[in-house]
């Protein structure tokens, strides 16, 4: 069983029992550039991810030329 992280339609799998911060490091995503949502609720970097969790990562960066 695994934890699934989804960013812009792309799925990543990490082991359960890790914090969100460690999971983001594992998949090489900067915590500053995403917001994590699990079951419709925002979760923070210290949250421990459980078996079967599906975490949606909302990208925060926008904007081209000003």
């Amino acid at each position: 069983m695994t934890v699934k992280l989804v960013l812009r339609g792309k799925e990543y799998e990490v082991k359960p029992g890790m914090t969100l911060l460690d999971s983001l490091k594992k998949i090489d995503v900067l915590p500053e550039s995403v917001i994590a949502v699990r079951d419709g609720e925002m979760i923070l970097e210290d949250e421990i991810l459980k078996d079967g969790d599906v975490v949606k990562l909302v990208a925060v960066i926008s904007g081209g030329a000003q």
Binding site: L30, E32, I35, M42, D46, V60, S62, G64, A65, Q66
Partner: protein, 308 residues
């Protein structure tokens, strides 16, 4: 992590402020801070009419929402740019903006560039051969011109845009890398009114992009999530990513970069360059200020694409 105010589970952690807040207290905190910035930088008062430039994105819709919650007289302006690229990008952003206005009972002005000038942004860009296959330069000129025009023609005192701190820091970073002193001088939370043009303000300039995303999500604001299809690979996004790497290692670095720049500018760091900068002229066609004598870049561009 616990909310500093009530001890409940935190929804947002702002490492640069050493502050974690729950949903409710974060949604209370954002308008309070916005009101503080509006006052600190003397952006506008409650009696002034504000035109908010809304794109359908998280920042501009959140700004409109916050100003409405604070009780300001804030109407919206949506510019239809005609960007499709097989995604219906402009159509969707317009739909979301109209939906927001309708849900909140707010007044929205819509200007469609193609209906007004005969061409959408990608076509204008192709016809004028500007921007090396990317319409961003043309888009910037058109947006600036049209926002100024509508604010002036409809008698608004202030034009507000949803630029957040990451937007400001990335522009600052780019201008610093090339030491663009004149651009550095003009960057700030407020651009004063000039020759009949409304004052320009950026009430969200001290919020991180991540905070504005959190605000939009927690308020349930439906915004266009996808980027403008032409912004992929842009320098601005590249600089934002670089600054986020710095922020990750040194929380508060982005905020300090911007605030210390404002302080240095206030203390006259770029004053000598102001003294030697070129005077501003007024475009004989539209009346808007321009750096060089003669027609402004927008009017020259429109003239070029009009049939003889």
């Amino acid at each position: 992590m616990k909310c500093r105010t009530c001890g409940a589970k935190a929804a947002v952690n702002m490492r640069q402020h050493k502050l974690a807040l729950c949903k409710q207290h974060f949604l209370d905190w954002v308008p309070i801070q916005t009101a503080r910035f509006i006052k600190k930088y003397r952006m506008f008062g409650p009696e002034e009419r504000v035109l908010v430039a809304v794109s359908g994105g998280k920042d501009s819709l959140s700004l409109w929402d916050i100003l409405h919650r604070l009780g300001y007289q804030a109407d919206g302006l949506y510019l239809g740019l005609g960007i499709d690229e097989g995604l219906g990008y402009s159509d969707e952003s317009r739909r979301l903006t109209e939906q927001f206005a309708r849900q909140h009972g707010l007044k929205l002005h819509i200007v469609d560039v193609q209906a007004t000038y005969g061409y959408d942004i990608p076509t204008l860009s192709a016809l004028t051969h500007r921007g090396q296959n990317r319409p961003c330069a043309v888009c910037g000129v058109v947006k600036r011109h049209e926002m100024n025009r509508i604010a002036r023609d409809l008698g608004y005192d202030v034009l507000a845009t949803g630029h957040n701190l990451d937007d400001e820091a990335s522009v600052l970073f780019g201008n610093t890398l090339s030491w663009q002193a004149e651009f550095l001088l003009r960057q700030g939370p407020v651009l004063p009114a000039h020759d009949g043009l409304a004052r320009k303000v950026k009430p969200l300039c001290r919020f991180y992009e991540k905070e504005m995303t959190a605000y939009a999500l927690l308020r349930g604001i439906e915004y266009i999530y996808e980027e403008c299809p032409f912004s992929a690979g842009s320098t601005t996004i590249y600089y934002k990513e670089l600054l986020n790497r710095l922020e990750n290692d040194r929380p508060g670095a982005k905020l300090a970069f911007y605030l210390k720049f404002l302080e240095a500018r206030e203390n006259g760091l770029f004053r000598s360059s102001l003294d030697s900068s070129q005077p501003m002229y007024n475009c004989p066609s539209c009346g808007q200020p321009t750096q060089y004598e003669g027609k402004c870049s927008f009017c020259r561009m429109i003239e070029k694409v009009q049939p003889a």
